[in-house]
Amino acid sequence: MFRKLILSESLSSQNEMTLLTRCALALVISILTIGLSAALILSPKAEPVLAIEALDKLALSGVENPVTAVLLNFRSYDTLLEIAVLLIVAVTMSTPSNKQMNQSAADTSRWLSVNDAQFVHPILTALLRWLIPLGILLSGYLLWTGAYLPGGAFQAGAVLTGVGVALAVAGRHHFTWHLFIARFVLTVGLIAFVAMAAGNALATGIVLQYPIEHAGLIILLVELAATISIAAILLMLFTQITALPNTSERLKP
């Protein structure tokens, strides 16, 4: 399965497994499924002790939504490391300054450059005029509402990415990622998280422990920074991949 990987753009790669391998695989998977189901049915489920404790301590967390409390307070260390995982994507996709992949005549000395000469259909322009502010507003709402209802940095970041993708696809705007300001935007989420951990250590003596009276505000600020970074990293992934020579033609509308 992993021995013959094909690195190609074509989607019509042949399935090389023989009938015997496929049957063997099917057998193994069925045995695993049955075993797993049996283990689940035969064993008792534990009391949801952690869920109860999380609801108990909710009042001390600075937010009213238990999911946000777990992600940003009780288990903020995991979230911090997850932001670092996203950063790996950004670093892997970055290109050195002198090796720009996009050949267009865009101004690469600015993070977001506008090429006015590029023709954009008036109807598309009109649509974007509505869509982009609305997207930004929605993203902000999702971020804000995370304190009370399901929502938060990851959802807000994804919507914000959509705004950036709409801009990039329309064709007049171009993002350049090797500049300092771009690198700052990509890292600001993790910077804010680490700074919060250190700042809280200074304030309360314990790393990642919020001073209770300011917890809500600090969580919102960290989430804001995380939203910006998540959106930037996803947008960078999109623009870098579409700028690759092979794929740019295919993806153009």
């Binding site: 992993f2 021995r3 994507v89 892997t92 690198r183 993790l190 250590a201």
Partner: protein
């Protein structure tokens, strides 16, 4: 005492240091600054690890830190005991030497991506060694695995990209299997904290299934035969310092977790059959890895296959840890395996650095075209030979002590047949090391077309590691004492909101 209050802070600092180093190396624009800052952080990391080791060996007590002050099981704790302190010390020393080597190895273009990924990988490694929470281990494994994949792909060649992609798929499969196992544990016991799990875990079908899933996932990442298929390509096509860290530390991190789960967290769910099965796979890995190394045409591939064999030795821990018919864990066997990890990490990193020097000088690493290597790159040959002494297990090297301890526990537990495998493995290792050396000392010189001139300084770093591999045979007692610091009596905890 002031120092007692501040010592627990060393735990979060051990994760924060590489993370901050990664952030700074992304933000900084010039290569010189990036390298300088990285070296500074590498030194800082060694000092922090040293502080932890000194504290543990002086006070003989493990340390627990409650992040956010919530405390397990609601919050996430970090812990250090003798074993994890040793792993942290090993990794930070290796990282310092490898960072020095890397400061010259990478061009400006590659260094833009290398240093941030390097530090993120190390953050993942440290997080694994400090983790006290089953889900947190998953996140740490993700950081480690993904940055390792990205670092392999820095090689840039088609072979490097293919092996990186395969490595990514295997790593993801391993992580998901691990996560599934953890989800089952959470369902059964309602907690993710390792210490709590170890007190409540029982032998029942669900725990067996979750131990199997966790083990399968970690075995994939540790590359125990027959799940090693991805390792030779990934480790041999990566840039030299990356190969070194992958063989020396990354596969050891998942092995470390296997040790934790089998002998500590889920030990009630283990049984003799599982232990013996892992041992048999290890024994086959030793022989098969050595034979494959003997047949390898490329030097880096030979070293990578030798890693497959050396991983096999680690798995002899499982059958040898308990004497026949008894459930008492033999501390001597654990010590032997930890020694193996130390000695192999240093020796293997040294070998990969030497191979990196050879490859960048000749432009290839085809073993048969390296005649007269001793005249062109004497330091690389010396490094390879000294590291080889430790891999074969000749006295007085660390590899010798490790094998001696392992033989001793094989004899004392009445399972002498495992000793036969170990001796055969040593013999075969002598053959493949000897093969390279006899070609290197061949006077019938191949005049190399010099690809890139040799750098004396970079040869020095590999040599240092090889010497360290030999010298770690001289402080056995200190290592064994440190290993005794365990979590039976967790004295130090940071205060928290209750």
């Amino acid at each position: 005492m002031m120092s007692d209050l501040l010592t627990p802070l060393l735990l979060p600092l051990m994760v924060a240091t590489p993370l901050i180093a990664a952030l700074v190396s992304i933000l900084v624009g010039s290569k010189r600054l990036r390298v300088g800052i990285s070296l500074l952080f590498a030194i800082l990391q060694v000092l922090i690890a040293l502080g932890l080791v000194l504290f543990l060996s002086t006070y003989q007590s493990a340390i627990r830190y409650e992040l956010g002050g919530w405390g397990a099981p609601l919050g996430i704790d970090l812990t250090v005991d003798g074993l994890s302190a040793l792993m942290l010390m090993l990794s930070s020393v290796l990282v310092l030497v490898l960072s020095l080597y890397s400061s010259q190895y990478f061009s400006h273009q590659d260094s833009v991506r290398f240093w941030p990924l390097w530090w993120l990988l190390i953050a993942g490694l440290n997080a694994v060694f400090l983790a006290a929470d089953a889900f947190n281990i998953f996140v740490a494994l993700e950081i480690m695995g993904l940055s390792a994949v990205a670092l392999v792909s820095l090689g840039g060649s088609r072979a490097a990209l293919m092996s990186a992609l395969r490595y990514a798929l295997v790593g993801l499969l391993g992580s998901l299997l691990y996560l599934l196992g953890v989800a089952l544990l959470y369902r059964a016991y309602g907690t993710l904290d390792l210490l709590m799990l170890s007190t409540v875990a029982d032998h029942n079908p669900l725990t067996w299934v979750s131990l199997s899933l966790i083990s399968l996932g970690l075995l994939l990442k540790t590359a125990l035969l027959p799940l090693h298929f991805w390792l030779p390509a990934a480790h041999s096509s990566a840039p030299a310092p990356v190969s070194a860290v992958l063989s020396a530390l990354v596969v050891k991190a998942s092995f470390y977790l296997l040790m934790r789960f089998w002998f500590d967290v889920l030990s009630p769910a283990t049984n003799e059959i599982g232990m013996t099965a892992l041992g048999v796979l290890g024994a086959v890995a030793i022989i098969w890895g050595c034979v494959a190394a003997l047949r390898a045409q490329r030097l880096k591939l030979l070293i990578a296959y030798s890693t497959v064999a050396q991983i096999g030795y680690l798995f002899l821990l499982f059958p040898l840890a308990t004497a026949s018919g008894s459930s008492m864990i033999n501390a001597g066997t654990i010590a032997a395996v930890v020694y193996f990890i130390l000695a192999h990490a240093l020796a293997k990193a040294a070998m990969f650095l030497a191979a990196g020097d050879i490859q960048s000088y000749y432009g290839h690493d085809n073993i048969n075209k390296l005649k007269g290597l001793v005249l062109t790159l004497p330091m690389a040959v010396a490094t390879f030979a000294i590291a080889g002494v430790s891999l074969i297990g000749l006295p007085p090297s660390g590899g010798f002590i490790a094998k001696w301890l392992l033989l001793e526990s094989a004899i004392s537990s009445g399972k002498w047949w495992w000793a036969v495998i170990m001796l055969m493995g040593g013999l075969l290792a002598a053959l493949y090391i000897g093969k390279v050396l006899s070609i290197a000392f061949n006077q019938d010189i191949d005049r190399p077309t010099v690809h890139r001139p040799a750098q004396n300084r970079s040869a020095f770093y590999g040599f240092t590691l090889a010497i360290l591999a030999v010298f770690c045979g001289f402080n056995t007692e200190w290592v064994l004492n440190l290993l005794e610091v365990q979590f039976e009596r967790p004295l130090m905890t940071s205060g928290g909101v209750q």
